[in-house]
């Protein structure tokens, strides 16, 4: 019971040689049984004589409830499979049939008492066996009221959710009921911490089967199914592919549906999926409101009960957003280059509720050429309750955020629903104007058709080799390494592949990583216990997906500090740090040398060493940073520091920083270029203000940051925090010490994008349009007068766009281009690319002097 370092011990004094003794331990009398992680049996050799031989046979170990209606939960069935799950020490554990009480075998704990062997310091020791409970049972998870750090708990709980049964064995829920047909609600999940575990199981009732999958913990799944209990027994089976986790089952008959929904399910779901009532009182809804009046609704829309409008994809459409007149009755028009992804969005506003709406897009056709509808991704924009900023408490708003995989879904009266379509232009598509339509069909009324014009441009966008689009990353391979069962390992491995593919499709070519290890042991100076093989696996993926170095590698400088100074690890931003002894820097240098030697030996790409995240400008922190960076550089490697050099407090670090990584676009382009010209230094940017550290609404600011804003800055790399990070329940932003960050995950491990992630890609594309034109201009400058004129025209428009950028340290909300204006500039760039490409196609072939001479 690790929550509070409590455990329960019971001497089994009743045991008698040659007899079965039954033990029935009342769990209700145990305190702090919130999280039972392990059970074990042991003896003390001091109570025996040297040379004694002892054998214990242990029958099934089960949990029961006193109501008599539910089946016991088998923790250990004493089978050979179960026997292998025990970890014996100074003893052995097998399945054995010599003495059996139930089942075919018992667990046999065999001990040869030996006062001379065993642990070095304790030859008269404690032969024992134990097994952990991930595949056993959690009796009670932690209640949200038991977190006392002043922050919201990682998940909101209720008594039902705090009582999960977890097992890797098939199990049956059985209840004696009045014969008849029943409805069942099965609350699945865990409200306590379990990392690196994938839960995958079937819930079966008669012929109905539903598969449940989720990773880690702090989240719930709701399963509704029919149960035929005509024989007076309501049975539901749980079949684990890895583990199952069941909090509870509610059974009711149709006649009680209303009352069960209202008095049981709705109140519990409000807690598990939103906030407990007492907590809700502390939170205020701060919803953005439109003040302009509704446009005149066309008669046909009034008659149909809904209207369709279109805002630019980079505009946030809230549940209550009011359209403008010019956005009604839309036609979708957009353009893209070969291989490019392009978003299309539209919104339905229902004047009444509809049980379901279906959305279909036709093939997009251009003469005989087709972009198949099957290649167009359709998603629904899901609203989530978000805090205005990631650590803000007690204020929330309902924001458009996660792009859920499409499935027919209900429409709520007077609440906007936005659909997000992504066209991936095939690399070999024929350029031209493709036409098609989106059909929107709410149940029971006339469908609507939205015409689509999609222009495919004969352009292959180029990536600037001197720029990197990166992102901070929590690598699923870390969980893969920690996972204990094969389904979990397979899940994290697949998740890693899907995420990397998703990153590549969004332009990401670099992720952060870490080589974490404890400080060196006294007897092994210069040797560190670091898992290089895991890094090898990460580097292999890095190479498979053509990522670009250098790699930012976090290292355990703070661990060495704690060891050498005898103090706690410093707080965030080096709070509480003090000057370390010289041995700190010496060991840190040895650690960096150790890592660097392995990097060179394995032929890995260049590393940037990242010893501390976001130091403050407090004098002690700066002094510590100077020592730290000097020590890292003494190993002959480069340093990476997340700090803003335009803040004068960081000036002392300047000689020791190889790569500055700043949140805003500061310093200015001019200062950066001058500094880079003067010495070897680089500038990266982690624009968290348009990534995860907000309410996920600065979508337009994100596009500007990653695209034209990046072009206008002097920075070489963008590396925001973070591709995905879960803080507690990943589907509730109102729990946890901070909001969950950025992309989400489907139950099977596939990534689910948020709108800002799509903005990252659109910014990446904007930049590629600019770079492609720049390369064509450079080439055209060597052409004939007509081509040079085209290059001059293109250059003039690039300069025009450059001048239109209202340079800001942080492009977030204010003073940005209107969303569609960025499309206009992209088109301006594209049109010049087309002209220059066209001029190249029709460029006269150069002829030799002699051919020209003879052709006269």
């Amino acid at each position: 019971m690790p929550d509070r370092n409590h455990s329960f011990h019971l001497p089994l004094k009743q045991l008698t040689i040659g007899k079965w003794i039954d033990f029935k331990i009342p769990l209700n009398e145990l305190t702090n049984r919130a999280h039972c992680t392990e059970i074990g049996f042991h003896l003390s050799e001091s109570e025996y004589k040297d040379g004694d031989v002892v054998d214990f046979w242990i029958s099934q170990i089960v949990l029961t409830r006193s109501n008599g209606k539910t089946s016991p939960l088998v923790l250990d069935d004493a089978s050979a499979v179960s026997a292998k799950k025990w970890s014996p020490a100074e003893a052995s554990c097998t399945a054995d049939s010599t003495h059996v009480k139930s089942g075919k075998t018992s667990l046999r704990l065999h001990v040869d008492i030996n006062w001379k062997t065993g642990e070095l310091k304790y030859p008269i020791g404690w032969p024992r066996m134990s097994r952990s409970m991930p595949d056993g049972c959690t009796v009670r998870d932690k209640s949200y009221t038991e977190y006392d750090d002043g922050k919201p708990p990682p998940v909101w709980t209720c008594p039902l959710s705090q009582d999960a049964v977890v097992s890797d064995q098939p199990s049956e829920f059985s209840a004696r009921v009045k014969p008849g047909k029943y409805n069942a609600w099965v609350l699945c999940g865990l409200s306590n911490s379990r990392g690196s575990q994938f839960y995958d199981f079937d819930i079966v009732s008669g012929s109905e089967k539903q598969r449940i999958q989720f990773e880690n913990s702090f989240q719930y799944r709701h399963v509704f199914l029919k149960v035929d209990a005509s024989d007076g027994k309501a049975k539901i089976n749980f079949t684990p592919h890895s583990l199952f986790a069941i909090c509870g089952v509610v059974l009711w008959q149709d006649i009680d549906t209303g009352i069960v929904q209202k008095e049981i399910i709705a109140p519990i779901r409000q807690i598990t999926d939103f906030l407990p009532p007492d907590e809700l009182k502390k939170w205020t809804l701060d919803q953005p409101l439109d003040t302009h009046p509704w446009p005149k609704i066309p008669t046909k829309d009034n008659d149909n009960g809904y209207l369709i409008f279109q805002k630019h994809w980079a505009e946030c459409v809230y549940p209550n957003t009011i359209p403008h007149n010019g956005e009604l009755d839309p036609e979708i028009q957009t353009f893209a280059s070969l291989g490019e992804y392009e978003p299309l969005t539209f919104t339905i506003h229902p004047f009444r509720s509809f049980p379901s709406v279906t959305v279909k897009i036709s093939d997009l056709k251009c003469g005989k050429n087709v972009i198949s509808a099957s290649t167009i991704d359709i998603r629904r924009v899901r609203y989530l309750n978000a805090r205005p900023n990631y650590t803000t408490l007690h204020v929330y708003r309902v924001v458009p955020d996660v792009l859920m995989p499409y499935e027919p879904s209900p429409l709520v009266s007077d609440e906007n629903t936005t659909f997000w379509l992504t066209v991936h232009v095939p690399d070999n598509a024929k350029p031209g104007f493709y036409k098609g339509a989106v059909t929107v069909s709410p149940d029971g009324t006339a469908p609507a058709t939205i015409p689509v014009t999609f222009r495919v441009l004969p352009i292959r966008l180029k990536e600037d080799p001197d720029k990197i689009f990166g992102i901070y990353y929590h690598d699923p391979l870390d969980s893969w390494q920690r996972a204990v069962d094969e389904p979990s390992k397979a899940y994290y491995l697949q998740k890693s592949e899907w995420e990397l593919q998703d990153m590549v499709a969004h332009g990401t070519r670099n992720v952060t990583t870490g080589l974490w290890g404890p400080p060196e042991k006294p007897d092994k100076p210069g040797v560190f216990d670091i898992n290089f093989d895991l890094m090898e696996k990460k580097i292999a993926a890095w190479r498979r997906y053509n990522f670009k170095p250098p790699i930012v590698v976090g290292i355990n400088a703070e661990g060495i500090y704690a060891k050498r100074s005898g103090k706690d690890h410093p707080g965030s931003h080096l709070k509480g740090i003090s000057k370390p002894p010289p041995e700190y820097g010496q060991e840190l240098t040895r650690m960096c040398r150790f890592i660097e030697a392995e990097r060179i030996k394995r032929g890995w790409p260049e590393f940037l060493y990242y010893p501390v995240d976001e130091p403050s400008v407090q004098p002690d922190a700066i002094a510590f940073m100077v020592d730290t960076l000097k020590a890292v550089q003494a190993a002959g490697v480069k340093t990476y520091v997340t700090a803003d050099p335009s803040n004068e407090g960081f000036a002392p670090l300047k000689p020791y920083v190889d790569v500055w990584c700043t949140q805003p676009y500061l310093p200015s382009r001019e200062i950066i270029l001058a500094d880079k010209a003067a010495r070897k230094v680089d500038y990266w940017c982690y624009p968290n203000h348009v990534n995860g550290e907000n309410d996920h609404t600065p979508v337009n600011g994100a596009r500007m940051t990653y695209g034209f804003g990046f072009w206008r800055s002097g920075f070489t790399t963008l590396i925001p925090w973070i591709y995905r990070a879960d803080v507690g329940n990943p589907w509730n932003y109102l729990d946890g010490s901070a909001m969950d960050f950025f992309n989400r995950t489907e139950d099977d491990g596939r990534p689910i994008p948020v709108a800002m992630w799509e903005a990252y890609r659109e910014g990446y594309d904007d930049y590629r349009y600019v770079y492609t034109l720049q390369t064509l201009i450079t080439k055209a400058k060597t052409g004939n007068a007509k081509i040079r004129q085209l290059a001059d025209d293109a250059e003039a428009d690039l300069k025009y766009i450059w001048n239109q950028i209202r340079v800001q340290p942080k492009y977030k909300y204010d003073d940005l281009w209107a969303p569609r204006e960025a499309d206009v500039y992209r088109w301006m760039v594209a049109s010049h690319i087309l002209k220059l490409q066209d001029s190249e196609t029709h460029r006269p072939k150069s002829r030799s002097f002699f051919r020209r001479w003879f052709s006269r």
Binding site: T284, D286, T291, H292, P293, H324, N325, G326, E327, Q333, F335, P388, T392, L393, H394, V395, F433, T453, R455, S616, V617, Q618, P619, S646, N647, E648, G649, P664, L666, Q804, P809, W817, A818, R820, E821, V824, Y825, W827, M828, A830, S831, L834, K835
Partner: protein, 302 residues
């Protein structure tokens, strides 16, 4: 208002005045103002100061004989125990009977800066409003400030939620943005609330500088005041090309900052530079010039 109220000084200052603004559209428009700080010694004493001083001073003034002088000696070793690199600040509490600012349009003041430094950091000074009932207030970094110059601030109150209960305001710096030993002096001149008493467009601008010829509309962002709730005024939006009007659209004008979409379907959309202005009540406000380029969706042309 009670006589011992921190803002008793303003009791008689709620007046109707003629406010002459710098744009012709605003001239001779009836306005109402409420003075929060008039720069006097009496007013300066109302501020609660931490790690700084606040006095009334005549060295730099704009509208009155004295201004509120906020003086800071940046000291990284002094201040609060846990935060020696702290936040020198000025706070004023607004008495309950004066907290409702929801009927005012702007908060106005000007700031002059002197410093021992030669230049200011990216965020030289911050400003906050405390709004009752909210954990969050309104925060605005004053990045525009320059040493040796007056900077005028005109904060549109209609865009801030919960101004019906403004309980206080604060000016502050973050010492981490400065060097230890820096000296800073801010003169804050005449902090007032204002509201217009008749319809007026105070600002207008284009949301875009460039559009394509397939655009359905041009967007104009306009700030209009003096219009009662649930009512609207009427304004003409006029587009000209080469000084010739090519489109006139009449649209309803509503209170506050709003986006107006001017439909382009009635005009022939040819590439060029269009000027856009709004006329209302005989006054004209220029919104700006927009460049129209060819459409990507014209099949015969690029």
């Amino acid at each position: 208002m009670s006589s011992n109220s921190p803002l008793s000084i303003f009791a008689t200052l709620l007046t109707i005045t003629l406010f002459v603004a710098d744009k012709p559209a605003f001239s001779q428009t009836a306005m109402e103002t409420l003075v929060i700080d008039d720069g006097t010694e009496l007013a300066a004493k109302k501020w609660v100061v931490a790690e700084a001083t606040a006095t009334s001073d005549s060295k730099h003034i704009k509208t009155a004989k004295t201004a509120l002088h906020f003086h800071i000696n940046v000291d990284w070793k002094d201040g609060e125990k846990n935060y020696p690199i702290g936040w020198p600040r000025l706070n004023i509490r607004v008495p309950p009977d004066m907290q409702n600012w929801s009927n005012f349009d702007y908060l106005l003041f000007s700031i002059f800066v002197e410093s021992s430094r030669t230049n200011l950091p990216a965020t030289p000074l911050g400003f906050s409003l405390y709004l009752s009932g909210k954990k969050q207030g309104f925060n605005r970094p004053f990045t525009e400030l320059q040493i040796g110059k007056w900077t005028d601030y005109k904060i549109p109150l209609r865009e801030i939620v919960n101004t019906n209960a403004c309980t206080g305001m604060q000016f502050h710096i973050s010492e981490s943005n400065y060097r230890d030993g820096d000296i800073l002096d801010f003169w804050i001149d005449s902090i007032v609330l204002t509201r217009y008493l008749e319809p007026v467009i105070t600002e207008a601008k284009l949301t875009e500088q460039t559009i394509t010829a397939d655009a359905r509309f041009v967007e104009v962002e306009a700030m209009a005041f003096g219009i009662e709730k649930t009512k609207h005024a009427v304004a003409e939006f006029i587009l000209t090309l080469n000084d010739k009007p090519v489109l006139t659209e009449t649209l309803p004008l509503i209170q506050g900052r709003n986006i107006y979409q001017v439909p382009l379907s009635k005009m022939k959309r040819i590439p060029g530079n269009y000027n856009i202005k709004i006329t209302h009540n005989g006054k004209t406000t220029v919104a700006g010039c927009i460049r129209m380029i060819g459409s990507p969706y014209q099949e015969d042309k690029q």
